[in-house]
Symmetry: D2
Subunit: 342 residues, 4 copies
């Protein structure tokens, strides 16, 4: 390109001062494929464990939660683990309550340590055990409480960066520390948690799953019933948690998955549009992300950006299990889903 | 109305000979509400049991099934238990095979007696136990076999009258006595039968449920988890078996339901558009249908026509459980669903 | 098959007296493919015209309509043109009103003769011209009136046999001769009739099309815009009238189509599940149905049963246009659609 | 809050160096309601016109387009008119061609000046006139050409910021300057542009509207047919351009609307989640946005951020017409839609 003429210069000055910009000045942002600012990153359990322990004494649960947010190093201090998702590690000590509030960002909890604490969701007390998935969908009142004698730790997953990018964040603090219990304990599990049988007298059809608790025992049952199957060459025995009334994702903005890698299993590489956060539930392995190896073990959390080529391998002595959240439902609803194997 | 004039007579003669008929001649068929020709009718287990026993020696399984079809007394010898549904009681002796075939009418089996026989559905052997619901959806190859030492009895439910009314019956006999087994035994249960978790590598999205076996133990678990709930004033603790990929009915033409009536429970009267066939799984009770009482006990089968006012009561010493099939998905898909309480 | 034994005889007697029938006695009803009782039949305009003329003096409009119903000769006097559809030719003289009523069977009108009469549908007066399609969906109040100086003739199409087979007929006579006009004349056309533009303030999403009038001028415009296209080898330039809010059929139970056969065009043979009624809007041609030729011209009406092999040819000097109704949406919603070319 | 203790300090240091951040440090980002960084902003036609004129000589069409992008002053130089949308004013001189390319961001064009130029979309040449809406959906090849004697100007609208936030941008330059014409000129209008009539032989069901051209004459016809209606108290006679096969928005990521304000009409205030860009097609008026008045006239473009309270008034001597794009389909698909009137 030649040096700009005076005419060109004057023109650019005119447009810039009027908040206009030439396409030719910015067209390089139309990249041949996604180039996320978020990077692949791993939070090791060895570090998280230390943080969990110190957090107990260092910071109070306060009006907020004792939740350590995983900031993606590529995102310049944004509240984001990937472009659309935020993950956190949350700690609740015996006797503590995390005050009731609600917000439009949807949340999930995957229980990492401890049994018997609860999340109350829109009036339903949901008792949590290790490996359980608990939902707190968009704009549902929720508080957390630990009436047990042990510290409870879970991974939070929320769609905060997405909700923020859409300028749709609403937040409300509850008047009371705990919202009123208006439903039976684990009541949604009674309604939806036993096979494919739907209560005919329930008329509500929310966008989010009305089942708040996906118990780990059922998850393991499902994985093990399929452990001899071929599964996906890219994901192994990968199951999506589903909305009982639609068969679709548990939330319109987040998909939750559980994935079994058999002993010695080495999956094939693939890239997909959309980002994920993985949590190692069991076992150990190695994930290559755009050529960089991430050695993982129980408790680790890994951020996987959009379109990163990734391949998982189980390198441990037993089965490995990965839980993950992703923005796949958004990507698919808007017609942006793609995959490639190189 | 006055006596017809000559002109009128001539006109009617003209139109009738040309296969035309005046609306005024037939308008009474536009009834204020449905007036089914099918009637409410009960087949007592005491009779069915005798029939089952005698059938073993009286008729061979042959190329057809040893299936005794429940003909509604109001339907003049039509192959129909209600206007849209046919139910039957089928008997398979030890060592017998009911030859493989397929047809567009969809079928369900609800196991009444015996454990361990199988229905093979499109290559999947499904092992059946008492209280199980087994699907053989439209146009899926299926054969039945009894490799156990005991006689097996089940209730068949099909949408034959509907399929026939729509002029959509196709039938094909398999070349072989048994279709080839191409899938793991109870394989669809492994894929879909454990909680709300969907195998991500399966891309098929059939109109019918891909889960062929709804086990009785899960059904009972679900019913009992809800036995303290209020449920429906008309149906009690009534659950619909659902399609895991849609949350909807198991077939586009039939809904299957299971219903718990607690001890002493007396439900309210209601009428709905669409017809059903009930089977008593457990307990005893009384159903009033358009004022006529039907006293029922385990094993009975009852036909309930469209728009009949019906109310169920548990009159026995324990819980009562009713299984039923209905044409509700058709009625709803076409916009004809209505209900009334008197 | 050998002669029945005494045991067999006794068994059959037992089951029959208990309203049971052996599958082996009736299995021949599971036919390899549909065998409709309805036959292909043609009502010639030369006959219909004579009937229309005589009807004016022979029968009053009364509380009913002066509607001559096309009875399929194969259906033994049932109120049915095919297994699911009834067509009729209706005549309204200057000054007449056909009293307001509503019924669950849905109806369409295709205007054959006369301009300026109206059908009032749920408070909207719809003014009708030749070639227009007018809807009166399920359970919508409707009356017809002719304030012009000429006799008006149209073809009615209803899903009466289907609604009856489903035991879902409801009918109600209006207290008044004419239901109250509560909406602008042709108001739904103003809302939905100009391009693909939807009024954002309307929240209703009925199952049936909210557009009551599909004007012939638009239909012709659409056909002619496509007259150089290849179209379908079986149907030519065939367009389906659509529900503006879904893009699907105008009613859940009936599809309406318009079809252009270019000069000299000879379409290929096909059979489909589901039945239709054709009306010749313009031109002349020949349709072979299961090998039998039907020569048709403007004004004729032809019943086409399910699974009949049919091929259309334009044999006239100009373009031919066929309007038709079918039960296709039912067939598709229930998963029964099939086609074959021989 | 008290001053942090040493323990707290050490803890924060630990977590920050490990890319963790306390929720208590950032919770203020969970705002009670959306607080967009984008601001309401107006680009006056008087300025745009000058830019359009100068652009003709100052910059070539090159391999890119001569498209001046409207940068929201609140968004710090991001390529964005609102958080999710980018609008631009594009100029094509007689004889010019804007080279063929495709990208995952979807685009619309609303023609501001000039008649007879074209956009070729996936093989279909679409001829454009003032007031027309032309689609170039996600990943469809498109080039623009001006074979007329006059300069053509249009408004572009794209979902670039959204696609970027989702890390889903793909872009590809075509090998040839112009993609091959494989379809009839304005062919999609022939297929879908005449009333609610769908070609039965077309099997494709894209997520985006298959109708590429929404002609202004139809738009005006629709608006004028409704000009006596009440319409919406917040939007007046507001129509959404729809996907002919679904009745929904033209793209999964963008809604296009046209809106008539009658003479003297003053609409009520409302805020909604989601952002829009308005373009004044005709007339003049005033829009109050969060209390700030924007006086507008033909040709102006206005950015409206999420949740901004806005009210439109027609202050001119005749009817006013506003065209707008918004991210409403995204907001609704993800369950984030809300509105409030204060």
């Amino acid at each position: 390109m030649n040096a700009p003429t005076k005419l060109e210069d004057a023109f650019h000055q005119l447009i810039h001062q009027n908040h206009l910009w030439g396409l030719w000045e910015i067209a390089s942002q139309m990249t041949p494929h996604p180039r996320p600012e978020a990077i692949a990153h791993q939070w090791k359990w060895s570090v998280l464990e230390q943080v969990v322990k110190q957090s107990a004494t260092a910071v109070p649960v306060g009006d907020e939660r004792r939740a350590m947010q995983l900031f993606n190093p590529g995102l310049n201090g944004q509240w984001a683990t990937t472009n659309t998702l935020i993950a956190a590690v949350q700690v609740l000590l015996p006797g503590e309550i995390a005050r009731a509030h609600r917000h439009t960002p949807a949340a999930i909890r995957f229980i990492m340590q401890g049994n018997g604490a609860y999340t109350a969701v829109e009036g339903e007390k949901v008792v949590m055990h290790e490996g359980d998935l608990v939902l707190t969908p968009s704009w549902q009142w929720h508080d957390h409480g630990n009436e047990t004698q042990e510290t409870v730790v879970w991974m939070d997953g929320l769609d905060v960066p997405l909700t923020k990018a859409l300028n749709c964040i609403f937040f409300q603090m509850h008047d009371a520390r705990r919202a009123e219990e208006s439903k039976p304990v684990n009541g949604s599990k009674a309604l939806y948690g036993h096979g494919h049988l739907a209560p005919t007298w329930v008329k509500e059809r929310p966008r989010f799953s009305p089942l708040m608790l996906y118990s780990f025992d059922q998850t393991m049952e499902a994985l093990h019933a399929l452990r001899e199957r071929e599964g996906s060459p890219y994901e192994g025995i990968a199951l999506e948690y589903t909305h009982p009334q639609t068969g679709g994702p548990v939330m319109p903005t987040m998909s939750c998955r559980i994935q079994l890698l058999r002993r010695g299993e080495k999956l094939k590489a693939r890239r997909v549009t959309g980002s994920s956060v993985f949590h190692v539930v069991q076992g150990q392995g190695r994930t290559l992300i755009d050529g960089k190896p991430f050695e993982w073990a129980k408790g680790d959390i890994i951020a996987l950006p959009s379109w990163a080529l990734h391949e998982h391998a189980n390198t441990g002595p037993g089965e490995a299990i990965l839980f993950s959240i992703s923005d796949r439902p958004v990507i698919e609803a808007l017609g942006f889903y793609r995959e490639a194997t190189s």
